[in-house]
Amino acid sequence: MGKAHFEVIDNVTLISDLIKYGAASGLKLVVGEMETGDVRVEKVGGKSTVTRCFCRYPLKFIIPRKAGSVKTDSVWIYSLTYGGGIVSGDAISCGLYVGDGCTTVLTTQASTKVYKSLGSKCSEQLLEAEIGSEAILVVIPDPVTCFSTARYSQKQVFRVVSDSSLVLVDWITSGRHESGEIWDFDLYRSTNNIFLGDGQPLFLDTVEFWSGLKQSNILMLFNRSWLIENLPCKFKIFPVFAISLNLNGNRQQVLLEKGAIAPLAESMQTYRVIAMIVIFGTKLGHIQKRIQEDVKRMMSEQIQVSSNSFSHKKKPNSLYISPDKLSFIASCSSFGQKEVGLVVRIASRTTESVYSFLRGQLAGLEPLIGLPPYC
């Protein structure tokens, strides 16, 4: 396999610039295949089969020979990191291909812990998945927990076709409550993008949390992975190299000198868990419908609106006590043509109530994937 190597130059922010520079200065830009993990699932003899599984430190895949009932055709992939967590400066990039008609589940063994950051380094994870025709990908990890001062960025890009199905759960808890860490990390950023085959964006979501501290000089590379998508040629360059070059050579830094105007702990109020569920595909219409009905019923029961209660004539220090804030709130939104997609957003005071919600709402996946999620 070839090695991708290039010099990092000041003020170069585009890979296309690097290619131009490389061509001009006689450097050769060659294919690099230095991702941390790559899995391909294809139909072999009519069954979903792993035809390629590559992983290297710090990533590890565990693929049980048989998960769930014998009757279901599905492949379960457990993804873990050595040491059980993500250490400052880790950069993990992973490719996943789910071939036509295949069913794949990507999950974790335990919550992903992101340890405190050293210096200005940011830990990053990148997943690029491609889902084929009539294929199903179910991504059901445990939540991410960022420890105090951790800096973490993750990006998941899914390329689907019109009859693909995708279930994606992405969630985060506020930290180690026992140690008093409540939304105490420096940075958490999560991007989930879904594109249709022709490149049309269906769902683009990035959530970014900053602590109250001022940040500066945080090196973030995978957030530039959109450059890979825009690459004018067929080469794929993984920024893992860029990290080591950057540390040695000229730093190409994404300067993010911002303090939070709305400190995270304050904007999260008493909520300890933020979760998002995306359900895409006409085959999963029954699950979408059930979630929408259940959430609507649950929320309508809890909500009362009375605009007269909040008369401005009340003195600020009156004995009016506001009702307890709801301990679990959720809302649903459709997206895409003919509402083919559904996104559910949740804020909860406890992790257990979210697990319980996920168990209940995703139980309908069992016939498709062999085991009920989150049990």
Partner: protein, 244 residues
């Protein structure tokens, strides 16, 4: 000599009158009397009251701060990019991206409603910019653009001649204006209280502009996702004053 002075005089006069006419257009764009239907949207405030997030003035101040910060991180990039290149192709591209980024159905529909109304008013009122009317007819015909609010606002600002920073500041201003207007109508605060709060919050609003200005649309993100959850609950309210 006399001729020279006269010519200079005429030159000065047209330069300052161009500047003044910019003022008139700017004030009109920021005035709540502009019929863009902004009064029908509460930016999630009604849902926040319904879910007991906002119960009084202090909560309102916090809520408003969060809305402004989220506006800065998610929508300012679109205003910025549109004002920098106020043309049809940029509008189509930004509109398409924002449509995929506004994953909350309530805010997505509100954005389209306000953007369409704004485009309609601007095309009718700012007749010195014929491209507005042309773009509007073209896109209405092709159906390829939803007319999301932030890019349309940026486009109009750019075509009127406002610089990028002014356009972005203006967008944060109208967001603040509309939330406070909704708060008054929801009886959360009186008109005088709202005016006082608006002046107090202007420091925060300026900080939001400073922090989130001049970013690319691809970098847009949500910084207060709790707002997304809350605003999505708008449809579950038993009785509603607002559309969103």
């Amino acid at each position: 000599m006399a001729d020279e002075v006269e010519i200079t005089g005429v030159g000065n006069k047209s330069a300052s009158s161009a500047g003044s006419s910019l003022n008139w257009s700017q004030w009109q764009l920021l005035d709540s009397i502009l019929p863009t239907g902004g009064f029908a949207h509460s930016f999630g405030l009604e849902a926040a009251i319904g879910t007991h997030f906002v119960c009084g003035t202090e909560d309102l101040r916090t809520f408003l701060t969060h809305v402004l910060e989220n506006t800065g991180s998610l929508l300012l990039p679109f205003v910025y990019s549109a004002s920098r290149s106020p043309d049809a192709d940029t509008l189509r591209e930004l509109d398409r991206t924002l449509d995929a980024m506004l994953t909350n159905e309530v805010s997505r529909k509100a954005s389209i409603a306000q953007g369409s109304a704004l485009m309609r008013v601007a095309a009718a009122a700012f007749t010195e910019i014929p491209s507005l009317k042309e773009m509007r007819s073209h896109f209405l015909g092709s159906g390829s653009v939803c007319f999301h609010h932030a890019p349309v606002f940026g486009l109009i600002c750019g075509l009127l001649g406002f610089d990028g920073e002014m356009s972005q500041r203006a967008y944060v201003f109208i967001t603040m204006r509309d939330v406070l207007s909704a708060a008054t109508r929801l009886n959360l605060v009186g008109p005088l209280g709202a005016a006082i709060l608006q002046h107090q919050i202007s420091d925060v609003a300026e900080a939001v502009v400073e922090k989130w200005k001049n970013r690319a649309a691809d970098d847009a993100c949500q910084t207060v996702p709790l707002l997304d959850v809350i605003q999505g609950c708008h449809g579950y309210l038993f009785s509603r004053l607002f559309c969103s």
